[in-house]
Protein backbone atom coordinates (compact mmCIF):
# COMPACT_ATOMS: atom_id res chain seq x y z
CA UNK A 1 0.00 0.00 0.00
CA UNK A 2 1.35 3.39 -0.93
CA UNK A 3 1.64 5.99 1.78
CA UNK A 4 -0.38 8.36 -0.37
CA UNK A 5 -2.46 11.33 0.72
CA UNK A 6 -4.05 9.42 3.60
CA UNK A 7 -0.95 9.84 5.70
CA UNK A 8 -0.82 13.58 5.04
CA UNK A 9 -4.55 13.95 5.59
CA UNK A 10 -4.02 12.44 8.99
CA UNK A 11 -1.20 14.85 9.80
CA UNK A 12 -3.43 17.78 8.82
CA UNK A 13 -6.05 16.47 11.22
CA UNK A 14 -3.38 15.78 13.82
CA UNK A 15 -2.12 19.34 13.65
CA UNK A 16 -5.68 20.54 14.22
CA UNK A 17 -6.07 18.16 17.13
CA UNK A 18 -2.88 19.34 18.80
CA UNK A 19 -3.93 22.94 18.26
CA UNK A 20 -7.13 22.12 20.14
CA UNK A 21 -5.09 20.81 23.05
CA UNK A 22 -4.15 24.32 24.11
CA UNK A 23 -7.73 25.55 24.63
CA UNK A 24 -8.31 22.14 26.21
CA UNK A 25 -5.43 22.80 28.57
CA UNK A 26 -6.82 26.26 29.29
CA UNK A 27 -10.02 24.61 30.51
CA UNK A 28 -8.19 21.90 32.42
CA UNK A 29 -6.04 24.47 34.20
CA UNK A 30 -8.74 27.13 34.39
CA UNK A 31 -11.17 24.87 36.17
CA UNK A 32 -8.51 24.01 38.74
CA UNK A 33 -7.77 27.55 39.88
CA UNK A 34 -9.96 29.55 42.20
CA UNK A 35 -12.78 31.29 40.36
CA UNK A 36 -11.11 34.66 40.73
CA UNK A 37 -8.19 33.51 38.58
CA UNK A 38 -9.82 31.41 35.90
CA UNK A 39 -9.48 33.98 33.15
CA UNK A 40 -5.87 34.77 33.91
CA UNK A 41 -5.09 31.08 33.78
CA UNK A 42 -6.85 30.63 30.45
CA UNK A 43 -5.24 33.77 29.07
CA UNK A 44 -1.79 32.33 29.67
CA UNK A 45 -2.63 29.57 27.22
CA UNK A 46 -4.24 31.91 24.71
CA UNK A 47 -1.27 34.24 25.03
CA UNK A 48 1.06 31.38 24.20
CA UNK A 49 -0.98 30.69 21.07
CA UNK A 50 -0.93 34.35 20.07
CA UNK A 51 2.82 34.71 20.37
CA UNK A 52 4.23 31.36 19.38
CA UNK A 53 2.34 30.76 16.14
CA UNK A 54 3.85 33.83 14.45
CA UNK A 55 7.26 33.19 15.98
CA UNK A 56 7.20 29.68 14.66
CA UNK A 57 6.73 30.95 11.15
CA UNK A 58 9.41 33.57 11.60
CA UNK A 59 12.26 31.65 13.19
CA UNK A 60 10.91 28.71 15.14
CA UNK A 61 10.73 26.21 12.36
CA UNK A 62 14.05 27.28 10.97
CA UNK A 63 15.72 27.02 14.34
CA UNK A 64 14.29 23.55 14.96
CA UNK A 65 14.46 21.87 11.59
CA UNK A 66 16.00 23.94 8.84
CA UNK A 67 19.21 21.98 8.67
CA UNK A 68 17.52 18.70 8.26
CA UNK A 69 14.51 19.56 6.21
CA UNK A 70 16.09 22.36 4.22
CA UNK A 71 19.70 22.68 3.19
CA UNK A 72 22.39 20.86 5.12
CA UNK A 73 23.89 22.34 8.24
CA UNK A 74 27.56 22.99 8.43
CA UNK A 75 27.97 20.05 10.76
CA UNK A 76 29.35 22.31 13.44
CA UNK A 77 28.88 21.43 17.09
CA UNK A 78 26.34 24.10 17.72
CA UNK A 79 24.21 22.50 15.05
CA UNK A 80 23.78 19.59 17.42
CA UNK A 81 21.94 21.99 19.72
CA UNK A 82 19.92 24.16 17.39
CA UNK A 83 19.62 25.05 13.75
CA UNK A 84 20.05 28.40 12.09
CA UNK A 85 17.06 30.60 12.93
CA UNK A 86 17.65 32.77 9.87
CA UNK A 87 18.14 30.05 7.34
CA UNK A 88 14.46 29.68 6.62
CA UNK A 89 13.26 32.80 8.38
CA UNK A 90 9.59 33.40 7.63
CA UNK A 91 9.46 29.91 6.11
CA UNK A 92 11.54 31.22 3.27
CA UNK A 93 12.33 28.34 0.98
CA UNK A 94 10.10 25.84 2.74
CA UNK A 95 8.36 24.05 -0.03
CA UNK A 96 4.64 23.88 -0.33
CA UNK A 97 3.71 27.49 -0.81
CA UNK A 98 1.03 28.07 -3.37
CA UNK A 99 1.84 26.85 -6.81
CA UNK A 100 4.96 25.08 -5.73
CA UNK A 101 5.62 21.42 -5.46
CA UNK A 102 3.95 20.49 -2.26
CA UNK A 103 5.52 17.52 -0.55
CA UNK A 104 3.64 18.44 2.54
CA UNK A 105 6.45 20.40 4.20
CA UNK A 106 4.02 23.08 5.34
CA UNK A 107 1.80 20.45 6.88
CA UNK A 108 4.77 19.48 8.98
CA UNK A 109 5.37 23.10 9.89
CA UNK A 110 1.80 23.38 11.09
CA UNK A 111 2.01 20.17 13.07
CA UNK A 112 5.27 21.13 14.77
CA UNK A 113 4.02 24.65 15.52
CA UNK A 114 1.29 23.25 17.70
CA UNK A 115 3.85 21.35 19.77
CA UNK A 116 5.74 24.53 20.55
CA UNK A 117 2.49 26.18 21.67
CA UNK A 118 1.20 23.46 23.94
CA UNK A 119 4.58 22.83 25.55
CA UNK A 120 4.88 26.44 26.56
CA UNK A 121 1.30 26.66 27.73
CA UNK A 122 1.87 23.65 29.98
CA UNK A 123 4.38 25.64 32.02
CA UNK A 124 1.78 28.17 33.10
CA UNK A 125 0.11 25.71 35.45
CA UNK A 126 2.94 26.14 37.92
CA UNK A 127 2.39 29.83 38.43
CA UNK A 128 -1.35 30.30 38.70
CA UNK A 129 -3.02 33.33 40.22
CA UNK A 130 -0.06 35.57 40.98
CA UNK A 131 1.88 36.61 37.91
CA UNK A 132 1.71 39.77 35.85
CA UNK A 133 0.31 38.97 32.46
CA UNK A 134 2.96 41.13 30.86
CA UNK A 135 5.71 39.10 32.53
CA UNK A 136 4.21 35.93 31.11
CA UNK A 137 4.02 37.46 27.64
CA UNK A 138 7.70 38.33 27.88
CA UNK A 139 8.65 34.91 29.19
CA UNK A 140 6.93 33.03 26.38
CA UNK A 141 9.05 34.08 23.38
CA UNK A 142 12.34 33.77 25.23
CA UNK A 143 11.53 30.41 26.68
CA UNK A 144 10.22 28.88 23.49
CA UNK A 145 13.23 30.18 21.61
CA UNK A 146 15.93 29.10 24.00
CA UNK A 147 14.46 26.09 25.70
CA UNK A 148 11.90 24.52 23.38
CA UNK A 149 13.27 25.07 19.88
CA UNK A 150 16.72 23.73 20.77
CA UNK A 151 15.35 20.69 22.56
CA UNK A 152 13.00 20.04 19.65
CA UNK A 153 16.00 20.24 17.34
CA UNK A 154 18.02 17.92 19.53
CA UNK A 155 15.29 15.33 19.85
CA UNK A 156 13.28 15.51 16.64
CA UNK A 157 15.56 17.46 14.32
CA UNK A 158 18.53 15.12 14.25
CA UNK A 159 20.43 16.90 16.98
CA UNK A 160 22.19 15.97 20.16
CA UNK A 161 19.47 13.83 21.72
CA UNK A 162 18.61 11.88 18.61
CA UNK A 163 20.52 8.87 17.39
CA UNK A 164 22.70 10.99 15.17
CA UNK A 165 26.44 10.81 14.89
CA UNK A 166 28.08 12.92 17.53
CA UNK A 167 24.99 12.86 19.69
CA UNK A 168 24.72 11.86 23.32
CA UNK A 169 23.84 8.25 22.57
CA UNK A 170 26.71 8.07 20.14
CA UNK A 171 29.09 9.32 22.82
CA UNK A 172 27.86 6.66 25.20
CA UNK A 173 27.41 3.58 23.08
CA UNK A 174 29.19 3.56 19.80
CA UNK A 175 32.79 2.90 19.53
CA UNK A 176 34.34 3.70 16.24
CA UNK A 177 31.53 4.66 13.99
CA UNK A 178 29.33 1.71 14.84
CA UNK A 179 25.60 2.21 15.25
CA UNK A 180 24.64 3.53 18.63
CA UNK A 181 21.64 2.66 20.71
CA UNK A 182 19.35 5.39 19.46
CA UNK A 183 17.36 7.24 22.10
CA UNK A 184 13.63 6.67 21.85
CA UNK A 185 11.29 9.59 22.27
CA UNK A 186 8.34 9.15 19.99
CA UNK A 187 6.43 12.37 20.55
CA UNK A 188 8.24 14.37 23.15
CA UNK A 189 8.74 12.96 26.63
CA UNK A 190 11.89 15.04 26.89
CA UNK A 191 11.43 18.10 24.70
CA UNK A 192 7.82 18.54 25.75
CA UNK A 193 7.03 17.14 29.16
CA UNK A 194 10.31 17.06 31.03
CA UNK A 195 11.08 20.44 29.54
CA UNK A 196 7.77 21.95 30.65
CA UNK A 197 7.89 20.24 34.02
CA UNK A 198 11.35 21.52 34.87
CA UNK A 199 10.44 24.99 33.69
CA UNK A 200 7.39 24.88 35.93
CA UNK A 201 9.51 23.91 38.89
CA UNK A 202 12.05 26.66 38.29
CA UNK A 203 9.37 29.29 37.82
CA UNK A 204 7.54 28.18 40.96
CA UNK A 205 10.78 28.54 42.91
CA UNK A 206 11.79 31.88 41.43
CA UNK A 207 8.33 33.42 41.63
CA UNK A 208 7.36 32.10 45.03
CA UNK A 209 4.12 30.97 46.58
CA UNK A 210 0.65 32.37 46.30
CA UNK A 211 -0.39 34.35 49.34
CA UNK A 212 -1.98 31.85 51.65
CA UNK A 213 -0.45 28.74 50.05
CA UNK A 214 -0.74 25.92 52.53
CA UNK A 215 -2.90 27.91 54.89
CA UNK A 216 -5.91 29.05 52.93
CA UNK A 217 -8.27 26.91 50.89
CA UNK A 218 -7.37 26.84 47.20
CA UNK A 219 -9.57 24.25 45.73
CA UNK A 220 -10.66 23.84 42.10
CA UNK A 221 -13.60 26.06 41.34
CA UNK A 222 -15.13 24.13 38.46
CA UNK A 223 -14.43 20.42 38.19
CA UNK A 224 -16.69 19.73 35.22
CA UNK A 225 -14.49 22.21 33.35
CA UNK A 226 -11.43 20.24 34.45
CA UNK A 227 -12.95 17.00 33.20
CA UNK A 228 -13.94 18.61 29.94
CA UNK A 229 -10.38 19.83 29.57
CA UNK A 230 -9.05 16.35 30.27
CA UNK A 231 -11.40 14.93 27.64
CA UNK A 232 -10.26 17.42 25.02
CA UNK A 233 -6.62 16.80 25.91
CA UNK A 234 -7.09 13.06 25.47
CA UNK A 235 -8.76 13.65 22.12
CA UNK A 236 -6.04 16.05 21.03
CA UNK A 237 -3.32 13.69 22.16
CA UNK A 238 -4.21 11.31 19.34
CA UNK A 239 -2.92 14.02 17.05
CA UNK A 240 0.12 14.47 19.24
CA UNK A 241 1.18 10.85 19.34
CA UNK A 242 -0.30 9.23 16.25
CA UNK A 243 0.57 12.25 14.11
CA UNK A 244 4.20 11.98 15.14
CA UNK A 245 4.78 9.01 12.89
CA UNK A 246 7.49 9.81 10.37
CA UNK A 247 8.39 7.74 7.34
CA UNK A 248 11.82 6.24 7.84
CA UNK A 249 13.88 4.63 5.16
CA UNK A 250 12.52 1.23 4.29
CA UNK A 251 9.61 1.75 6.64
CA UNK A 252 7.76 4.26 4.59
CA UNK A 253 4.88 2.52 3.00
CA UNK A 254 1.24 2.64 3.92
CA UNK A 255 1.15 -0.81 5.41
CA UNK A 256 3.85 0.00 7.86
CA UNK A 257 2.17 3.31 8.63
CA UNK A 258 -1.14 1.57 9.31
CA UNK A 259 0.51 -0.95 11.60
CA UNK A 260 2.43 1.55 13.64
CA UNK A 261 -0.24 4.23 13.90
CA UNK A 262 -2.71 1.59 15.04
CA UNK A 263 -0.30 0.52 17.72
CA UNK A 264 0.34 4.08 18.81
CA UNK A 265 -3.37 4.80 18.99
CA UNK A 266 -4.11 1.75 21.12
CA UNK A 267 -1.12 2.33 23.38
CA UNK A 268 -2.09 5.94 23.93
CA UNK A 269 -5.61 5.00 24.93
CA UNK A 270 -4.88 2.11 27.21
CA UNK A 271 -2.07 3.93 29.00
CA UNK A 272 -4.34 6.90 29.77
CA UNK A 273 -7.10 4.56 30.90
CA UNK A 274 -4.79 2.52 33.10
CA UNK A 275 -3.34 5.67 34.62
CA UNK A 276 -6.83 6.68 35.76
CA UNK A 277 -6.98 3.37 37.56
CA UNK A 278 -3.50 3.80 39.01
CA UNK A 279 -4.32 7.26 40.30
CA UNK A 280 -7.71 6.54 41.84
CA UNK A 281 -6.53 3.34 43.47
CA UNK A 282 -3.86 5.32 45.31
CA UNK A 283 -6.49 7.86 46.29
CA UNK A 284 -8.86 5.18 47.53
CA UNK A 285 -6.10 3.74 49.69
CA UNK A 286 -4.67 7.02 50.94
CA UNK A 287 -7.68 9.33 51.11
CA UNK A 288 -10.53 6.86 51.18
CA UNK A 289 -12.15 8.16 48.02
CA UNK A 290 -11.62 8.16 44.27
CA UNK A 291 -11.95 11.73 43.06
CA UNK A 292 -12.85 13.21 39.73
CA UNK A 293 -9.82 15.47 39.90
CA UNK A 294 -7.78 12.32 40.38
CA UNK A 295 -9.36 10.69 37.35
CA UNK A 296 -8.77 13.75 35.20
CA UNK A 297 -5.20 13.98 36.44
CA UNK A 298 -4.67 10.30 35.77
CA UNK A 299 -5.74 10.81 32.17
CA UNK A 300 -3.12 13.47 31.69
CA UNK A 301 -0.40 11.63 33.58
CA UNK A 302 -0.94 8.52 31.49
CA UNK A 303 -0.87 10.50 28.28
CA UNK A 304 2.34 12.19 29.35
CA UNK A 305 4.05 8.91 30.10
CA UNK A 306 3.01 7.21 26.87
CA UNK A 307 4.15 10.19 24.79
CA UNK A 308 7.77 9.06 24.40
CA UNK A 309 6.87 5.37 24.60
CA UNK A 310 3.83 5.00 22.38
CA UNK A 311 5.70 3.40 19.50
CA UNK A 312 8.02 1.23 21.53
CA UNK A 313 5.72 -0.69 23.85
CA UNK A 314 3.16 -3.40 23.38
CA UNK A 315 -0.42 -2.65 24.38
CA UNK A 316 0.01 -4.78 27.49
CA UNK A 317 3.22 -2.93 28.29
CA UNK A 318 1.33 0.31 27.91
CA UNK A 319 -1.26 -0.83 30.44
CA UNK A 320 1.54 -1.50 32.91
CA UNK A 321 3.13 1.87 32.21
CA UNK A 322 -0.22 3.54 32.79
CA UNK A 323 -0.84 1.85 36.11
CA UNK A 324 2.63 2.72 37.38
CA UNK A 325 2.53 6.30 36.16
CA UNK A 326 -0.90 6.97 37.56
CA UNK A 327 0.15 5.71 40.95
CA UNK A 328 3.50 7.52 41.01
CA UNK A 329 2.05 10.85 39.91
CA UNK A 330 -0.76 10.57 42.46
CA UNK A 331 1.93 10.32 45.10
CA UNK A 332 4.19 12.94 43.53
CA UNK A 333 1.64 15.74 43.59
CA UNK A 334 2.00 15.80 47.36
CA UNK A 335 5.69 16.70 47.17
CA UNK A 336 5.07 20.40 46.82
CA UNK A 337 3.53 20.55 50.28
CA UNK A 338 6.47 18.64 51.69
CA UNK A 339 9.11 20.77 50.07
CA UNK A 340 7.09 23.94 50.21
CA UNK A 341 7.11 25.12 46.60
CA UNK A 342 3.89 26.28 45.06
CA UNK A 343 3.66 24.43 41.78
CA UNK A 344 0.03 25.43 41.75
CA UNK A 345 -1.49 22.96 39.33
CA UNK A 346 1.18 20.26 39.57
CA UNK A 347 3.18 20.67 36.41
CA UNK A 348 6.03 18.97 38.20
CA UNK A 349 4.00 16.16 39.69
CA UNK A 350 2.30 15.36 36.40
CA UNK A 351 4.56 16.44 33.54
CA UNK A 352 8.04 16.14 34.98
CA UNK A 353 7.33 12.94 36.86
CA UNK A 354 5.15 11.48 34.11
CA UNK A 355 7.67 12.46 31.44
CA UNK A 356 10.51 10.88 33.36
CA UNK A 357 8.60 7.68 34.01
CA UNK A 358 7.62 7.35 30.38
CA UNK A 359 11.06 8.14 29.00
CA UNK A 360 12.89 5.82 31.31
CA UNK A 361 10.30 3.04 31.21
CA UNK A 362 11.26 2.43 27.60
CA UNK A 363 14.50 1.02 28.91
CA UNK A 364 12.50 -1.66 30.66
CA UNK A 365 9.35 -2.13 28.61
CA UNK A 366 10.52 -1.37 25.06
CA UNK A 367 9.71 -4.47 23.05
CA UNK A 368 12.89 -4.34 20.96
CA UNK A 369 15.54 -3.19 23.38
CA UNK A 370 14.03 -3.08 26.86
CA UNK A 371 15.43 -4.97 29.80
CA UNK A 372 12.26 -6.93 30.38
CA UNK A 373 12.33 -8.11 26.80
CA UNK A 374 15.87 -9.36 26.94
CA UNK A 375 17.55 -6.16 25.82
CA UNK A 376 20.70 -4.99 27.50
CA UNK A 377 21.17 -2.09 29.86
CA UNK A 378 22.10 0.30 27.02
CA UNK A 379 18.64 1.57 26.21
CA UNK A 380 17.96 2.28 29.87
CA UNK A 381 21.17 4.24 30.18
CA UNK A 382 20.51 6.19 27.00
CA UNK A 383 16.98 7.01 28.06
CA UNK A 384 18.17 8.19 31.46
CA UNK A 385 20.91 10.24 29.86
CA UNK A 386 18.59 12.13 27.53
CA UNK A 387 16.16 12.76 30.37
CA UNK A 388 18.93 14.19 32.52
CA UNK A 389 20.25 16.32 29.71
CA UNK A 390 16.77 17.72 29.08
CA UNK A 391 16.41 18.52 32.79
CA UNK A 392 19.72 20.36 32.78
CA UNK A 393 19.08 22.31 29.60
CA UNK A 394 15.59 23.36 30.55
CA UNK A 395 16.56 24.11 34.13
CA UNK A 396 19.41 26.41 33.25
CA UNK A 397 17.67 28.25 30.44
CA UNK A 398 14.51 28.73 32.45
CA UNK A 399 16.43 29.94 35.48
CA UNK A 400 18.26 32.57 33.48
CA UNK A 401 15.09 33.88 31.82
CA UNK A 402 13.09 33.77 35.04
CA UNK A 403 15.69 35.69 37.01
CA UNK A 404 16.12 38.25 34.25
CA UNK A 405 12.40 38.93 34.23
CA UNK A 406 12.34 39.08 38.01
CA UNK A 407 15.02 41.74 38.02
CA UNK A 408 13.90 43.77 35.05
CA UNK A 409 10.12 43.89 35.27
CA UNK A 410 9.18 41.71 38.22
CA UNK A 411 6.88 38.70 38.16
CA UNK A 412 4.33 39.30 40.87
CA UNK A 413 1.18 41.34 40.79
CA UNK A 414 0.43 43.71 43.61
CA UNK A 415 -0.44 41.86 46.84
CA UNK A 416 -3.83 43.49 47.12
CA UNK A 417 -4.68 42.51 43.59
CA UNK A 418 -3.63 38.95 44.26
CA UNK A 419 -5.83 38.82 47.36
CA UNK A 420 -8.71 40.45 45.61
CA UNK A 421 -8.82 38.88 42.16
CA UNK A 422 -6.18 38.65 39.48
CA UNK A 423 -8.82 38.40 36.77
CA UNK A 424 -9.99 41.85 37.70
CA UNK A 425 -6.63 43.51 38.18
CA UNK A 426 -4.85 42.02 35.17
CA UNK A 427 -7.72 41.64 32.73
CA UNK A 428 -10.50 43.88 33.99
CA UNK A 429 -12.99 41.05 33.92
CA UNK A 430 -14.56 38.41 36.07
CA UNK A 431 -15.20 34.89 34.92
CA UNK A 432 -18.82 34.44 35.87
CA UNK A 433 -21.92 36.47 36.45
CA UNK A 434 -24.52 33.81 36.95
CA UNK A 435 -27.02 35.60 39.13
CA UNK A 436 -30.42 34.69 37.80
CA UNK A 437 -32.34 37.64 36.57
CA UNK A 438 -30.16 40.40 37.89
CA UNK A 439 -28.02 40.52 34.80
CA UNK A 440 -24.96 41.42 36.78
CA UNK A 441 -25.45 41.98 40.43
CA UNK A 442 -23.29 44.96 40.10
CA UNK A 443 -22.28 47.57 37.71
CA UNK A 444 -23.62 50.67 36.15
CA UNK A 445 -24.03 51.91 32.66
CA UNK A 446 -21.43 51.10 30.04
CA UNK A 447 -19.64 54.25 29.09
CA UNK A 448 -21.23 54.83 25.76
CA UNK A 449 -18.97 57.71 24.93
CA UNK A 450 -16.34 55.15 24.05
CA UNK A 451 -15.79 55.95 20.44
CA UNK A 452 -14.90 52.85 18.54
CA UNK A 453 -13.05 53.64 15.37
Amino acid sequence: MELGTGYLAFVLVAASLVLLMTPGLALFYGGMTRSKGVLNMMMMSFGAMAIIAPIYVLWGFSMSYSDTLGANASGSDIAMLFANPFHQFGLDGVQGALGEDGSGALITVGFQMTFAIITTALVSGAIADRVKYSAWLVFVPFWVTFSYFPLAHMVFGGGFLSGSEGGLADMLFSGDGGANTAPIDYAGGTAVHINAGVAGLVLALVIGKRIGFGTRPMRPHNLPLVMLGAGLLWFGWFGFNVGSWIPAEGLDDGTYWAGETGLVWVNTTVCAAAAILGWIVIEKIRDGKATSLGAASGVVAGLVAITPACGALSPVGSIILGLVTGALCALAVGLKYKFGFDDSLDVVGVHLVGGLVGTIAIGFLGTSTGLFYGGGIEQLVVQTAIALFAILWSGIITLVIALAIKVVIGWRVDEDDEENAIDSSEHGESGYDLAGAVGGRTGTVPTTEKDGI
Binding site: R219, R286, D287, K289, L293, G294, S297, G334, Y337, D346
Partner: protein, 112 residues
Amino acid sequence: MKLVTAVIKPHKWEDVREALETFGVTGMTVSEVSGYGRQKGHTEVYRGAEYDIALVPKIRIEIVVDDGDADDIVGIVVKTAQTGRIGDGKVWVSGIETVVRVRTGDRDAAAI
Protein backbone atom coordinates in the same frame (compact mmCIF):
# COMPACT_ATOMS: atom_id res chain seq x y z
CA MET B 1 -44.92 43.71 63.75
CA LYS B 2 -42.42 40.89 64.17
CA LEU B 3 -39.74 39.43 61.98
CA VAL B 4 -39.36 35.67 62.18
CA THR B 5 -36.04 34.44 60.85
CA ALA B 6 -35.61 30.72 60.33
CA VAL B 7 -32.51 28.82 59.31
CA ILE B 8 -33.40 25.30 58.19
CA LYS B 9 -32.16 22.32 56.22
CA PRO B 10 -32.53 22.84 52.48
CA HIS B 11 -34.60 19.76 51.80
CA LYS B 12 -37.17 20.91 54.35
CA TRP B 13 -37.89 24.11 52.48
CA GLU B 14 -40.77 22.74 50.45
CA ASP B 15 -42.50 21.30 53.51
CA VAL B 16 -42.11 24.48 55.49
CA ARG B 17 -43.42 26.57 52.65
CA GLU B 18 -46.50 24.41 52.32
CA ALA B 19 -47.23 24.42 56.03
CA LEU B 20 -46.89 28.18 56.20
CA GLU B 21 -49.08 28.61 53.17
CA THR B 22 -51.74 26.49 54.79
CA PHE B 23 -51.54 28.62 57.90
CA GLY B 24 -52.04 31.70 55.78
CA VAL B 25 -48.61 33.19 55.35
CA THR B 26 -48.68 34.89 51.98
CA GLY B 27 -45.12 36.04 51.62
CA MET B 28 -41.57 35.47 52.68
CA THR B 29 -38.04 36.14 51.58
CA VAL B 30 -35.65 33.25 51.14
CA SER B 31 -31.91 33.03 50.78
CA GLU B 32 -29.27 30.37 50.47
CA VAL B 33 -26.82 30.57 53.33
CA SER B 34 -24.22 28.42 55.00
CA GLY B 35 -24.45 27.23 58.54
CA TYR B 36 -21.77 26.63 61.09
CA GLY B 37 -22.63 24.72 64.22
CA ARG B 38 -22.75 21.36 65.91
CA GLN B 39 -23.46 19.67 62.60
CA LYS B 40 -20.01 19.31 61.23
CA GLY B 41 -19.20 19.74 57.56
CA HIS B 42 -17.25 17.22 55.60
CA THR B 43 -13.80 16.65 54.25
CA GLU B 44 -12.83 17.18 50.66
CA VAL B 45 -9.60 16.02 49.10
CA TYR B 46 -8.03 17.58 46.04
CA ARG B 47 -4.90 15.89 44.78
CA GLY B 48 -4.18 14.66 48.25
CA ALA B 49 -4.68 18.00 50.00
CA GLU B 50 -7.46 17.74 52.53
CA TYR B 51 -9.95 20.53 53.07
CA ASP B 52 -12.13 20.63 56.12
CA ILE B 53 -15.37 22.08 54.80
CA ALA B 54 -16.83 23.58 57.97
CA LEU B 55 -20.01 25.03 56.52
CA VAL B 56 -23.16 23.23 55.52
CA PRO B 57 -25.81 24.60 53.17
CA LYS B 58 -28.93 26.00 54.82
CA ILE B 59 -31.98 27.94 53.77
CA ARG B 60 -32.75 31.16 55.58
CA ILE B 61 -36.34 32.40 55.62
CA GLU B 62 -37.52 35.83 56.72
CA ILE B 63 -41.18 36.37 57.42
CA VAL B 64 -42.68 39.63 58.55
CA VAL B 65 -45.80 38.86 60.57
CA ASP B 66 -48.41 40.38 62.78
CA ASP B 67 -47.46 40.35 66.43
CA GLY B 68 -50.10 37.81 67.25
CA ASP B 69 -49.01 35.30 64.61
CA ALA B 70 -45.36 35.14 65.52
CA ASP B 71 -45.61 32.32 68.03
CA ASP B 72 -47.76 30.17 65.80
CA ILE B 73 -45.42 30.63 62.93
CA VAL B 74 -42.39 29.76 64.99
CA GLY B 75 -44.24 26.67 66.09
CA ILE B 76 -45.10 25.65 62.56
CA VAL B 77 -41.56 26.09 61.32
CA VAL B 78 -40.11 24.17 64.23
CA LYS B 79 -42.56 21.36 63.72
CA THR B 80 -42.20 21.04 59.98
CA ALA B 81 -38.46 21.52 59.75
CA GLN B 82 -37.66 19.08 62.50
CA THR B 83 -35.92 15.85 61.65
CA GLY B 84 -34.47 15.34 65.10
CA ARG B 85 -30.98 15.18 63.71
CA ILE B 86 -28.23 17.65 64.51
CA GLY B 87 -28.29 20.65 62.21
CA ASP B 88 -32.03 21.21 62.00
CA GLY B 89 -31.46 24.91 62.51
CA LYS B 90 -32.73 27.85 64.53
CA VAL B 91 -35.67 30.18 64.48
CA TRP B 92 -35.58 33.61 66.06
CA VAL B 93 -38.00 36.47 66.47
CA SER B 94 -37.32 40.18 66.64
CA GLY B 95 -39.50 43.22 66.76
CA ILE B 96 -39.79 45.58 63.82
CA GLU B 97 -41.17 49.05 63.87
CA THR B 98 -42.87 49.22 60.56
CA VAL B 99 -43.21 47.46 57.25
CA VAL B 100 -44.23 48.99 53.95
CA ARG B 101 -45.47 47.39 50.75
CA VAL B 102 -43.47 49.03 47.98
CA ARG B 103 -46.18 48.68 45.38
CA THR B 104 -48.82 50.57 47.31
CA GLY B 105 -47.11 52.29 50.20
CA ASP B 106 -49.43 50.43 52.60
CA ARG B 107 -48.02 50.02 56.08
CA ASP B 108 -47.87 47.33 58.72
CA ALA B 109 -50.72 44.83 58.83
CA ALA B 110 -51.92 46.07 55.46
CA ALA B 111 -48.50 45.57 53.99
CA ILE B 112 -48.13 41.85 54.44
